[in-house]
Symmetry: C2
Subunit: 198 residues, 2 copies
Amino acid sequence: MNYYGNELSRLIEELSLLPGIGQKTAQRLAFHIIDLPEENVTRLSDAIVRAKKNIRWCRECFTLTDSEVCPICADSRRDHKTIMVVEDSRDLAAYERTGKYNGVYHVLHGAISPMLGIGPNDIRLKELMTRLRQDVDEVIIATNNSLEGETTAMYISKLIKPTGIKCTRIASGVPVGGDLEYIDEVTLLRALDGRTEL
Amino acid sequence: MNYYGNELSRLIEELSLLPGIGQKTAQRLAFHIIDLPEENVTRLSDAIVRAKKNIRWCRECFTLTDSEVCPICADSRRDHKTIMVVEDSRDLAAYERTGKYNGVYHVLHGAISPMLGIGPNDIRLKELMTRLRQDVDEVIIATNNSLEGETTAMYISKLIKPTGIKCTRIASGVPVGGDLEYIDEVTLLRALDGRTEL
């Protein structure tokens, strides 16, 4: 129903196409946007267009960035001999937020999934193996703790074994703040298997 | 932290300035946007810029629209002798969604609030009184059921009384689906006061 006229209706519709944005939220956002000063609106629309236009994959680690090489790969203070393998750039961001990891990354852009027909050649695995020809101490596999993530982790570890490079997997267990009562059985068993000495 | 490079970080930041959009949602939206086909991205940014540029107030009812007169005021099939007074265009949209109201509207763009220093001259009240010089049967006051909305309703009804035009207020009571057990006392008393014969 077009009770706002075309322009506002179109904005609401475009916004409601975004993930997790329903009709009501789209309406609230649209009203907020048309109340903003003109320069803020321009900044927002420019950011959208420019991000779309300029974002590409880092030549080294394949994360999304806007230069040839991402800021992390370009940083000489980071440990380039430790590579953390993640499924996508958001996972990289999650580890960066911890502020404690000082190595570099390799972004696969997916995980092996026979169900979805995604094989080893559909993700950036060949590129990882190429990087391993350089001087690398350790590959930390931080794919998701899902069927696909686990499959991918197993596959990668088998590929790496012959090279003699140390290959590790991030721990699976009870999350911090997690109440044992509400944790699923598989996680509880993983946590038990992965117990460490105190 | 700039682990995404400038363009993507800027987009995330701009999106996170929107109301109700936190850092995580902004990140999700940004990744969605850069994954969209170029034409969809252009459509989104165009909608933002055009809405901001072209939206103004309807000459008649002061709702937000993109033409001289909004689609509702321009519609001759609607009953122009019944005017519903609302605080803003979103309230108008809420009643339009019911699909049952066939009159026109008057958007005040606010409510009288001595606390916030908003007086009768700060909202579109004078314009309402001007409209009442034409042939009007009824003014339905649908300001919010808040202190400000009630104050505004009282004020308007006093202004209208001398004109002899019928002036009504939408009912206050228990919302449909509302469980009496969880309804506040004021609403329960309002519902009692407003009881109708069966």
